[in-house]
Symmetry: C2
Subunit: 348 residues, 2 copies
Amino acid sequence: MSKKPSLAVVGATGAVGTVMLDILSKRKDVYGEIRLIASARSAGKKLTCRGQELTVVALTPEAFEGIDIAMFDVPDEVSKEWAPIAVGKGCVVVDNSGAFRMDKDVPLVVPEVNPDQVKNRSKGIISNPNCTTLSMIVAMGALHKQYGLKELVVASYQAASGAGQSGIDTLRDQISKVANTSVGDTAGDIHKVISDHGPFPAPLALNVIPWAGSLKEDGYSSEELKVRNESRKILGLANLKVSVTCVRVPVLTTHSLAVHAIFEKEVSRQVAQDVLKNAAGVELVDDPENHKFPTPADVVGTDPTWVGRVRKSLDDANALDLFVCGDNLRKGAALNTAQIAELVAAEF
Amino acid sequence: MSKKPSLAVVGATGAVGTVMLDILSKRKDVYGEIRLIASARSAGKKLTCRGQELTVVALTPEAFEGIDIAMFDVPDEVSKEWAPIAVGKGCVVVDNSGAFRMDKDVPLVVPEVNPDQVKNRSKGIISNPNCTTLSMIVAMGALHKQYGLKELVVASYQAASGAGQSGIDTLRDQISKVANTSVGDTAGDIHKVISDHGPFPAPLALNVIPWAGSLKEDGYSSEELKVRNESRKILGLANLKVSVTCVRVPVLTTHSLAVHAIFEKEVSRQVAQDVLKNAAGVELVDDPENHKFPTPADVVGTDPTWVGRVRKSLDDANALDLFVCGDNLRKGAALNTAQIAELVAAEF
């Protein structure tokens, strides 16, 4: 690195943007200027990053002038419009929306799994995977290297903040509404105290909702297809068999996943635990005798992918079952984006 | 039926017992006397059943005199001791504990799936399956009949009441403690407001816990092995491949399961939906376009097994993914026990 590249954070005021400023303040300081960009509505707002107060500027083409790397955390349609504009202004874009993830000219990068893909950015854009995929893929990448992954069956336990700040606000509001009531025992009585579902299709407090994203073909949700398609692209396994059911749970932040993984070779519980223990970015907590396993309450706010409940399938010598947790705003979004940006920054 | 058999409800004051009295009050009245039995601590308590006030009597051998059918909902060790005593007093016992479920001389019955097994009670005892198994098995039995089941991969979303009344009380107390606080954003901060875990190994409010039951071999929980072993016994498939990860979620009542089911034959989404729509004891709610799928908030307090999110696997023509909900205190416990007892009552 011969110069410190300048960085823009686009979407600095959202749930992920807020975590990003915290992450940028704590990781190795590899940047020159950091510029915060958001919608015109948030322009002028003052936020703190690296101990400095910064004023948010509005998203305009001029906002990207003099910027080397631009991290985007904005809705798909905003990324679709603005990432090419930023590239046109000379930026490398690291985008956390779904807009470009499956574009064959845009690499989808997890630094612990496929860091070399950062170079293949013929459009000047690198995509950051979906938070649900990211919450498990570092662990699965390590196990794939050991055993060769053939198939994944995944059930998710997704946090409210996967739907952004309004998801967090909605769940907090609903929890305060059901607290100290007797609702929850009779069909539909939760509806009597909760009428505002926020970004969710049903009440989330004292409930689980088997839905995340929008409807795609054959009854699948967009979130389920993302996990399948993105896992295949990141691992470079075009024919990986993947079945996913995505479910929202009343947790504020940290996605969990129950994963049944089938490999090319016979697995060993002990070896799998050792692989995970030694994998970069993974923390193994697997001592059920002492009730030690990852839970969102302990994982939230941390960087690694946490893995526990590692078991060899009783009926398939080539299969493992495990439970994985990752902070969906950190590794699931801001942290991985920051890690990708650091790989780009190292080129300067 | 020529006489109305007399019935004892053992464990009448527990979470399942309370639901049982409601169920007995609403179903067809096939019994003569109904006698409520509980621990000495609860003796003398007055409870209402079939519109009548009944006084709870203490669990003694004499309590079973004149009783034809005794339904037990008590801990394993109490069933182990007292079910043979009740049989000795001439009762047929329908037991909802784990004490006898895997005994080869005790049938494990789900009336919609294997009603004929009721007759094979050489010990005078019929077992009711575990609530997690019961929450999905009616739906899986119907699909098995159509396609021949080969393998199940299950992830559960289990309600607090699966751990009894103390589970319900604990979750309600924890919800009131986290309401109107800002906890949930930082690792461990939920621990600052929740110190009483009740029957759970970690805080449950705003959290999920990948554990239910006690530790068995190779890292499995007792609950996970129950789902495997009981599914095999109920379906009569001794070699059914079953992988299960059991997870507790902050829902009061109603277990949910994400099920990946592999069959002998190629499946069709439409046919599977039709099979489920026409299956006794199953309600299909599968219209994701209009956000219609089962959630615990709508299922709690109802009798059927609710199924939604039916999808044909994109990578395995013989596999279906679905989401199943069942009230763990009703079909998962009291209702199925009552249904078994009615099969026995019909013999009188």
